[in-house]
Amino acid sequence: MQKQKMKPVDILIVEDNPGDARLIKEVINGNKIQCQLHLVKDGVEAMNFLNRKEEFTGSPRPDLIFLDLNLPKKDGREVLAEIKTDDNLKQIPVVVMTTSQAEEDILKSYSLHANCYVTKPLDLDQFVNVVKSIEDFWFSLVKLPTKE
């Protein structure tokens, strides 16, 4: 699925709900930007992926992380905290994407240096819009640090 010119973008999706993961994939795949999507289903896997541990030894460094907060094994908040306290990882923008509209979650996320916080809309069209906007923002609008 590689495209010419553009270096493919690696997106890590940390999502235990396969439905959501699928939806995100559906939306991203429908876009122009070449994306390499990586899906992990819990916090531990996510950290292993980022630290290239265990089965993820050959994994790429993601350009963007979609992080759900409620995850099995390791909570999304812990994952966020670990990323943002890790000097190697903290540059990676993390989009907290969750069902929760709870204020404390939003606050907590930002205080853990989440780059943005998005509530998953119920409506499919809105969902598509949200994901598209994120994609556009982070890959077209924003200048990201180059990978190592």
Binding site: N70, Q101, L122, F127
Partner: protein, 870 residues
């Protein structure tokens, strides 16, 4: 004894004249005798003179005739004896008397000899008979004369010196006449003057007598003066009237004549007694139903009783009064006795019996009974006690106090009306109809029913029967009323005495229990005399405070010295509050122990105040709650921990619920939508509609979950209260609803809104929900008015619309969670908005309610407490 004035004076005059004449006559008579005697002496002397002369002359033998002539001259000289006085010389010759000289009425030259035995010439005959002496008799010319006769034996001549009696008498007749005339004149003059002098005196005497008479007649008592035979000497008007006599008829008659023989006898007996003993007597008798009292007093004259003065009075009324008094006295005595009985009584029934007995025995009434009003169906009067009745009689009467025929008897009426009912004559009184026959058979002629009352409530009656038809005087009724009042009081006081005894017993028991409890619970008791500022502790207090029994210094300072310093201010405050306000003292303080530890003491007290509301005493208890405190602290700690954990869990739950419930929901929604989108050409109309239903359902479910979450977080996630300007709140709410407001073309107005102390976010939510509601349930163009006002401790806010309105029966229900009144397809919403409002308002200590009219509009009101800053 009064003589009429004119007649009296005349009589007096006659008597006086008579007496004067008598005196004059006697005087004249005496003078006459003296004069006669003088004349006699004179005549005798003269005669003896003449005789002497004649004898001496005759001795010398001179011519007799010459002598005689000489004598004659002499005679003339001596004729001073009077005009008719003369000296006569005669001699007897042939039994015929011849006179020697011519005399006044004797013609010497034509002598008419007088026969010796004729009746005339008596003095000479006596002289010639040689009887010398004075005499009166008829002389030669048949004239009565006073003469001295003597005889000269030598010449045998009789010599008479004489004077006519008439001459002697004449002057006396004259002087008698003069004396008489003078006497008449003098007496007349004297009488005139006497009258002049005596009239005023007499008048006075008369007046005084009249006055006495007036007094006598005015006196209402009979007054008599009687003599030994009982004859009236003096009576007064009443006295004679009593016998239907006039005074004149009575005087001089015996009192016994006008009396029945038996009565007369007794009177005479008393009369005689007084006469013989000289001592007064008093007695009474009865006459034609009238009662009289008689007093007999002796009247003395020369130490002897000569009259009896009596006075008698009608004492019928007095006797009647006395009898009444006697009765009243008996009632009074009964009153006194019943009071004594009351004091001693311990049992109500025996007290009633005793009172009944007293009334019958001491007051002399025929019978008496006491009944209590029952509140049963027929309102019977239940006889409780009686005296003078045969057993069972009262029960047979079935007396009632209901307002019907049976209850109109005296007892029933008395109870029903709370009045004294006098039934003077049972035979005549219709109220007695039901029991007349019975009563009269038993000889009861009249009755008196007196109510027995507790304050104004009549609970029974005492009914008294008399065998007399009209025996109850006002005074008696008043005394008997008093007796009834005493009886009421007695009954009530016995009841209260019994109750009191019971209470006292219970009190004693409870006191014992209390002491036991105090001992066992180690509760200390203290009394603070505020006036002397002295605090008394019992032993347990001292034990509790860790000091030796009896060593407490009894002052407030001594008490305070035990307290932990931080606890002194609030203890003082609690004491002051209890003394100044109507609050019981209660506080907890710590006391320092010798070993450096502390004890928690719970102190409670009551304040005693005097009549002016000034506190005088504080009585309290203390108990050691250290252990309890420790336990409680532990319990509290545990509870708190548990609560925190549970709150946390709840939070977690709510969070998880909202999060985890929404995910599957979103899956349903998203994938059905994706399905619709991707396969829209392959799906028919039905399939698309079904998908829409699924999507809508999921959407509503999400709203529901969010609302539920919000609802659950009102309490736990509320913010601190601050001063909130409701204008700003409204502004924010309107802003939040702006799209909706524009869509509905609604007009919002508001009045002056207060600043409240509240959670701003929640206030926004409340107004937003209420305005949202108004928009939602509107017709045409909504008009919404928001206003507030102050009332007591609250601000009242109102949100008023002109919408469809709510039926009254749903006013409560709309505030319950998930309660909807209208179908979902017409009015969207979860039915949680008003429940959230209610919860928020309640968190603020306020209330929310609604007033509405169908098709006219709805007004929501909510209150927020003024200033809740702690």
């Amino acid at each position: 004894m009064i003589i009429s004035k004119g007649k009296g004076t005349f009589q007096l005059m006659v008597i006086m004249i008579f007496v004067s004449l008598l005196v004059a006559g006697i005087s004249i008579y005496i003078v006459y005798h003296v004069v006669i005697n003088e004349k006699k002496e004179y005549l005798k002397e003269l005669s003896e003179n003449q005789i002497g002369i004649i004898e001496s002359i005759s001795d010398e033998g001179k011519d007799i005739t010459g002598v005689l002539k000489l004598l004659k001259r002499q005679q003339k000289i001596n004729a001073s004896i009077g005009k008719t006085g003369e000296f006569v010389v005669g001699y007897l010759k042939n039994d015929t008397i011849f006179y020697l000289l011519d005399h006044l009425r004797y013609d010497f030259f034509n002598p008419k000899p007088i026969a010796f035995n004729s009746v005339i010439g008596e003095p000479m005959r006596r002289a010639l008979s040689q009887r010398t002496g004075i005499m009166t008799g008829f002389d030669y010319s048949n004239k009565e004369v006073l003469a001295y006769c003597s005889y000269i034996p030598k010449l045998r001549w009789g010599i008479v010196t004489k004077i006519d009696i008439s001459e002697v008498n004449e002057s006396f007749y004259k002087s008698g006449l003069y004396a008489g005339l003078i006497a008449i004149v003098l007496v007349t003059i004297a009488t005139f003057f006497f009258r002049k002098i005596s009239n005023p005196i007499a008048k006075k005497i008369m007046e005084s007598e009249e006055n006495l008479r007036a007094i006598l007649d005015a006196t209402q008592e009979s007054i008599y003066l009687l003599d030994r035979q009982g004859k009236f000497i003096i009576t007064n008007r009443i006295g004679t009237k009593r016998f239907n006599l006039s005074q004149a008829d009575a005087i001089g008659h015996k009192i016994s004549e006008f009396m029945l023989p038996e009565l007369a006898l007794s009177r005479m007996e008393h009369l005689n007694n007084v006469f013989s003993s000289g001592k007064p007597e008093q007695f009474e008798d009865v006459r034609n139903g009238f009662h009289f009292e008689h007093h007999y007093y002796p009247c003395f004259k020369d130490d002897k009783v000569n009259y009896i003065a009596t006075y008698s009075r009608d004492v019928t009324e007095i006797k009647k009064k006395e009898l009444e008094l006697l009765k009243l006295n008996r009632i009074l005595k009964a009153l006194g006795k019943s009071s004594q009985v009351m004091l001693k009584a311990t049992d109500e029934l025996s007290y009633l019996e005793e009172v009944c007995r007293i009334v019958v025995n001491d007051c002399g009434f025929a019978m008496v009974w006491i009944g209590y009003a029952q509140n049963d169906e027929t309102k019977t009067v239940e006889p409780k006690a009686c005296a003078g009745f045969e057993k069972g009689y009262l029960e047979s009467l079935k007396i009632s106090w209901a307002d019907n025929e049976r209850g109109h008897g005296p007892t029933g009426t008395s109870i029903r009306e709370g009045q004294t009912v006098v039934c003077s004559n049972m035979i005549m009184n219709p109220a007695f109809e039901p029991c007349r026959e019975d009563a009269t058979k038993r000889g009861y002629a009249s009755s008196l029913a007196l109510p027995l009352s507790d304050n104004d409530k009549t609970f029974g009656a005492i009914t008294i029967y008399s065998s007399e038809p009209d025996p109850f005087t006002l005074k008696e009724i008043s005394f008997l009323t008093e007796l009834a009042a005493d009886l009421s009081y007695g009954i009530l006081s016995i009841r209260s005495k019994i109750a009191k005894t019971k209470v006292e017993k219970e009190l004693l028991e409870s006191e014992e229990k209390l002491t036991l409890a105090l001992e066992n619970a180690s509760i200390g008791v203290w009394v603070w005399d505020i006036l002397t500022n002295e605090i008394e502790w019992d032993e347990r207090m001292e034990l509790m405070f860790g000091i030796k029994p009896g060593s407490f210094a009894k002052t407030y300072d001594a008490f305070e010295s035990f307290l932990v310093d931080e606890d002194i201010p609030h203890t003082r405050k609690a004491l002051r509050k209890a003394l100044e306000e109507e609050i019981h003292f209660e506080t907890v303080y710590r006391i320092k122990l010798g070993n450096g530890g502390v004890k928690y003491i719970n102190a409670k007290a009551l304040v005693t105040k005097d009549n002016n509301g000034k506190p005088v005493k504080m009585t309290g208890v203390c108990f050691d709650i250290t252990e309890m405190k420790k336990d409680a602290e532990q319990v509290l700690f545990k509870l708190n921990e548990e609560l925190m954990r549970s709150n946390k869990e709840l939070e977690q739950f709510a969070y998880i619920a909202s999060h985890d419930l929404q995910e599957p929901l979103r899956m349903v929604s998203s994938f059905t939508q994706l399905l619709a989108k991707r396969y829209k050409d392959k799906l028919d109309e039905d399939a698309r509609e079904f998908i829409q239903f699924a999507v809508d359902g999921a959407s509503r479910m999400q709203t529901l979950i969010n609302d539920l979450l919000a609802f659950s977080r009102i309490q736990t996630k509320g913010r601190e209260f601050t001063d909130v300007d409701m204008h700003e709140v409204l502004e924010q709410a309107v802003y939040n609803l702006s799209i909706n407001i524009q869509a509905k073309n609604a007009l919002l107005t508001n009045g002056e809104l207060s600043v409240v102390y509240a959670d701003e976010g929640q206030m926004i939510q409340v107004l937003q929900n209420l305005i949202g509601n108004a928009l939602k349930f509107s017709m045409n163009a909504p008009l919404i008015h928001i206003s507030s006002k102050e009332e007591n401790d609250y601000f009242i806010f109102s949100v008023k619309d002109n919408g469809i309105g709510i039926e009254k029966q749903y006013f409560e229900r709309i505030f319950q969670i998930f309660q909807r009144l209208l179908p979902k397809d017409e009015y969207e919403g979860t039915g949680i908005g008003l429940a959230i409002c209610k919860r928020i308002i309640e968190r603020h200590g306020g209330k929310i309610w609604v007033e509405s009219e169908i098709n006219k509009g709805t007004t929501f009101y909510f209150t927020i407490k003024k200033i809740q800053r702690s």
